[in-house]
């Protein structure tokens, strides 16, 4: 008797060409009014963004051509060494960045990401700069005084600072141009891109912390509605800087976690993370997302001197006022892609001593 997997494989093989998502029966929209960049990407360019694959309709590093193009992300299978610890993977990444660029810059926005990256690079001997956005006519986008008041570096660091002065009008012009060119529907991402574009050094762009969400938590009703169903959430907008760098042939690290995914895998392998998610699955302490934990208690374990990112939160509030306009012009450039967490850790050979997949009897299995 044939195994179930064999029967499933044969059935899929039989129908994929016609009825797969890229099959002939699934007619896709022809490209229309979408800026499609068709220049061939060089190996050197790709080496900047490798780590996590992304693209559309199952192809890698290609461009959105129509509204129904399906954004996707692939974290790949385990290869080589397993991730070590969060801190050591961060340091390894910084070493690799320093090997690639003789001088690199890191943005200072007062966010936890900025604070963490600054703490890590300041422990190294690498040649780096700190890029500080200083909007001349919008205090919410000026982080100079925050840097001066919160960062207690000694005098030698003052020579490392690169201040980017700009007007809000200049940023808005960049935002519209970038959105049209690489379809970025997120003004926060566009702001990070703007700072990097103005820096004279290859930048490690501001990167949102990875997001892991329980899809069986009803946000509207604020309650659990089924057994935990944790998925990694990747947004199309978070790859807009990668597309921007490719298009402009510009150097830089578009996203620390996507360029060096072992940092993310190391987070998933940390005992403190495993303890949190195990508890977050219990009825008495269900959580909807990893966001607060990763931004808060998790980082505090490694960086006890982190302060509340109030300036960055004000900056985000200010930037979000542009979001409606972007979504109005580009309603289909903000897709999210979900990766089941239990499948990801399985593929990356990360071991959990508790059952992460509680929905097997309902959603089934990949054989």
């Amino acid at each position: 008797m044939k195994s179930k997997k064999l029967i499933a494989d044969n059935f899929i093989k039989l129908h994929l060409e016609k009825y797969g998502l890229n099959g002939t029966n699934t007619q896709k929209n022809p490209p229309a009014n979408f800026p499609v960049w068709s220049a061939k990407t060089s190996e050197k360019q790709l080496s900047q963004i490798t780590g996590v694959k992304f693209g559309y309709n199952g192809q890698v590093f290609n461009w959105r051509e129509s509204s129904t193009c399906m954004f996707w992300v692939d974290y790949g299978n385990e290869s080589g060494a397993l991730p070590t610890t969060f801190l050591s993977e961060c340091l390894k990444a910084v070493d690799q960045i320093a090997n690639r660029y003789s001088t690199f810059s890191i943005p200072f926005l007062g966010s936890t990401f900025s604070q963490v990256l600054l703490s890590i690079v300041s422990e190294t001997q690498h040649n780096y700069r700190i890029t500080i956005p200083a909007c001349l006519d919008c205090p919410a986008l000026n982080f100079e005084s925050e840097f001066n008041s919160k960062i207690n570096f000694d005098r030698k660091y003052t020579t490392l600072v690169e201040t980017i002065e700009f007007s809000e009008e200049e940023f808005v012009a960049f935002l519209r141009e970038m959105t049209a060119e690489v379809r970025c529907a997120d003004p926060i991402v566009a702001f990070s891109a703007f700072i990097g574009a103005r820096s004279q050094f290859a930048q490690v762009y501001h990167s949102p912390w990875p997001e892991i969400r329980d899809e069986n938590f009803d946000i509207v009703g604020n309650k659990a509605v089924g057994p935990s169903n944790w998925n990694v959430v990747d947004n199309e907008s978070h790859f807009a800087i990668a597309r921007y760098l490719l298009k402009k042939n510009k150097e830089g690290i578009h996203n620390l976690f996507y360029s060096y995914p072992n940092i993310f895998f190391a987070i998933l392998n940390e005992a403190v993370w495993k303890q949190w998610i195990k508890k977050a699955m219990e009825d008495s302490d269900r959580q909807s997302s990893s966001e607060n934990f990763l931004n808060g208690k998790f980082l505090a374990e490694y960086f006890p001197n982190l302060y509340e990112p109030t300036s960055w939160i004000s900056g985000i509030s200010h930037l979000l006022k542009f979001k409606e306009e972007l979504l109005q012009h580009y309603p289909k450039a903000n897709e999210a892609w979900l990766t089941p967490l239990y499948r990801l850790i399985e593929k990356r050979k990360i071991h959990y001593d508790f059952q992460l997949n509680l929905n097997e009897s309902i959603y089934g299995l990949v054989l």
Binding site: L16, Y19, L21, V220
Partner: protein, 177 residues
């Protein structure tokens, strides 16, 4: 009023696989918040049901858009795809008002299920309470006890629509071709 049902004649309904393009043109009335049928995405993944990872979605997911025909005229539509190697989901059932009450909705479900071989032994889907009651009666659908009612946001307006419930049905071998 149901003109087809009122004829009191037995209506011969045919079920067929159709193109994705024809399907999304036909079901557009269900997507009240979109301007063009081309905005209907190739696939959706409500609440993380799809168990495939990365490129597996393109190498293992199969979708069959289907329609019910009366006298060669399409009167109902649905689409079925696999969320894993053992479970399938139907992406909505839409029957024209004049063809309702003839069992075409359940006929579409039966046809959708018949397309899948044995490893696929379960069907799941989300339902509002009215549809759930209907298909519990006509199609042996069962709400899943561990899953409670959840709110759904209408994408364009962000307004909450009627709560929905996850339900399932085991696929019997006799339903497979």
């Amino acid at each position: 009023m149901n003109p087809l049902a009122d004829t009191n004649l037995s209506v011969k309904v045919e079920y067929k696989i159709i193109s994705f393009e024809d399907w999304r043109k036909a079901v557009m009335p269900m997507w009240s918040w979109i301007k063009f049928h081309t905005w209907i995405p190739i696939i959706n993944n409500p609440y993380g049901m799809i168990q495939y990872c990365g490129e597996e979605v393109f190498s293992r997911l199969i979708q069959f858009p289907i329609a019910a025909f009366v006298d060669d005229k399409p009167v109902g539509w649905s689409l079925v795809y696999n969320v894993s190697d053992t479970v399938i989901r139907v992406r909505g059932v839409y029957v024209l008002p004049e063809a309702r009450g003839l069992g075409i909705g359940t006929g579409l479900y039966d046809f959708a299920l018949s397309l899948w071989p044995e490893p696929w032994t379960q069907y799941i889907g989300y339902y509002d309470s009215k549809s759930l009651k209907h298909f519990m009666r006509t199609w042996d659908l069962k709400p899943i006890a561990q899953y409670s009612l959840r709110h759904r946001q209408i994408p364009a307006t962000k307004q909450a629509s009627e709560p929905i419930q996850l339900a399932y049905r085991k696929i019997k071998l006799t339903e497979k071709q």
